[in-house]
Amino acid sequence: MAAAPRPPPFRPLARLSRILSGGTGWKGMVGQVVFAALLAWLAYDIVTNAQANLQAQRVASGFGFLSSSAGFGVSQALISYSEADSYFRVFEVGLLNTLLVSAIGIVFATVIGFAVAIARLSPNWLLARLAAGYVEVIRNLPLLFQLLFWYLAVLAALPNPRQSLSVFGVAFLNNRGFVVPQMLAEPGARVFMVAIVVAIIASLAMVIVARRRLYRRGERLRIWPFVLVLLIGLPLLSIVLFGAPVRFDMPVLRGFNFAGGMRITTELVALAISLSTYTAAFIAEVVRGGLLAVPKGQTEAGASLGLSRGAILRLVIIPQAMRVILPPLTNQYLNLIKNSSLAVAIGYPDLFSVFAGTALSQTGQAVEIIAMTMAVYLAISLVTSAIMNFYGWRIDRSLRA
């Protein structure tokens, strides 16, 4: 008489328990429940305390304050802003200023960083030492220190507007900032823009066709003369036919300061210089590591195919190095964006300075304002890393193909 077959265990329940406990059995489950209870208790405690404290301070919680008038000025705004505007407008102004300085910083830091990395790997001994010295000095000094140095010591020591340092007679550097000619749109501007866009699209199409021809038939098309003609000729043609697209409003010294032109504030200059030089030192190390990670045989293979040194670097080494470089480079970009919040130390009106600084001290809405500021930085970080991840995915795909 055979024993009755054991019924199979009730699958979904077993699976559920495995998922809930992470396969650690009842011990893990109990630990999890205790942990959750502790967190819930902590959250409850925090919320009740915060409510009681805010009530005692007579601060109305909620986001209603965003629509009330801010009543303070901001020294630099990319969008129209007046003191009567709301706190939400302040938030937008600050956010745009943060994005502006981050974009400037990222561009300059990348350029300087790549240059320093290549200099550090140069066969020229002196140049390599100079680049290494740059990295060692900049990397080992706090960013805030460098920021204050540029702002308080260097830029403040510049002469006053009457004795400005002149850059070819068109731009002027003084202790109030950097005065550059301002571009004002003329009637021909629209046609000019269209011409540029058409030229770029046509050039891109030619590049794609040439690349396809190269991959399909192994023929190399000489397209660069055509591209050059297109990119220079088309806009030039539009200027000849429709007149200049922009008028330059030249800065002129009048009395004690410049009239006309556009003033880039000292704060922005100091922040851009310190952010880009500081991050460039880190980017240089990242790039150097990436370039060294490509095996030497790749260079030799390129050389034996008869490629020039520049072509080897551009076609063989950098695409492979990019894979190594990209993740840490993304980290450096994120650091730069987060570090732009140091602007508060010198009074550049970035998001942190005007919103978590001035607006916070005026309204006392600490919880809402700090939460909003943190959320914005988190969002910027996530978006930047998403873009860089997409780029990395494309590089990966093209290298695998």
Partner: protein, 454 residues
Amino acid sequence: MSNGTDTNFVRGALAPERQPPVVTTGIIGLMRTRLFNSPTNILLTLISAVVLWLLLVPTIRFLFIDAVWQGSDRTACLAENAGHPVGACWPFIQAKFTQLIYGFYPEDQRWRANLTFALAVLLLAPLLVPKIPHKALNAALFFIAFPFLAFFLLHGGGLDGFAFYWIAELFGAAWTPSLTRFWFDFSMTAAFVTMAMLWFGGGWPNGRRAALSSALTFAGIAVVIVALRLDQGGLPIVDTRQWGGLLVTLVVSVTGIVASMPVGIALALGRTSRIPLLRAFSVMFIEFWRGVPLITVLFFATYMLPLFLPGDFTIDALVRVLVGIALFAGAYNAEVIRGGLLAIPRGQREAANALGLSYWKTTGLIVLPQALRHVIPSLVNSFIALFKDTTLVLIVALFDLLGQLRATFADPVWATPTTLFTGFAFTGIIYWIGCFAMSRYSLFVERRLDPHRR
């Protein structure tokens, strides 16, 4: 076989001398191979030399040749009095030196700060030299005992009671403190903990060592209490608002380093844990703190932490900042330590399981020590970042070295054209030496731990 002249050739004259090989070593070799070997390289060398000249000569002139070394106020550092263009104004640093180091720490109490610095060096130096034995004891003294000692030395104040008093206080039933009650509480705690160590160590013969070390630890604590007179009110209290300068920089960075380690280890273990809720919490916590700037964390700690605590509970501004920094640095350390945990082969954990060790014993005795050793260089890197980031406390109105420097610029007695540059040069050198020394040390450790070189 007559004379063999046809088959054997004997050279009649010496071969002509060849050119000596190109020297590739030494200064001449360097110049030949790496400085002047091609037109491009010659150009690069010349440009670099010019840049170096333009950077180095003014720096050296500023720091040494044109510098003013003696004086009592700004007049000494003016060009018309010195008789030459003035570089660094060192009398300014001499006048402000104590302020840069101690802030507004009372003058008659500065021996306490000095003693703390000396103790830190005394405990840290042997920790950094691999050859010196007793690393575990040394590390325990530095990371656990030293912070408490430093707190009582720098802040002052005494102890009302010990463990039983604190527990009673927690339940709102503390007694009025007195000297005898304090020592009774202390000896009760010591006896209780030592017995517990003996019990958990596995009875008399096995738990002997644990009980002995517990008793010795309590003896050490008693010595410190008597030496600092903590039982009788201790040293006079110096409020943290009076701290400043390098003292605050070091306090914040050392506390940040010490406190961020347990936070980082806990988060890393949570993130690699199999328990879903724990893992999700750790991931969220780490990603949140890593995604926001440190300044927002400091603002969060300064403005929001007090809101989260019960109304009658106030915490010191410095402590709030330290909490923020510990959480922030902990999140960064967690990722570094996680890397180390992932690098440990699975077999290590399996072997420990096969020996019947529990999760905590496996982790604490087998996995963590190896993982931490793997990531020492990266940890040092994040400590360097932390040391540099301590400057941000000046934004929440704590006067660290940089904040103190900024404050000294406001003094009209020393307002000269070069005061700012002198101040930045001096503090810059301090920061640079600190960071550079740490990064070199991390390279040294990396080389020592590199299995391919061993």
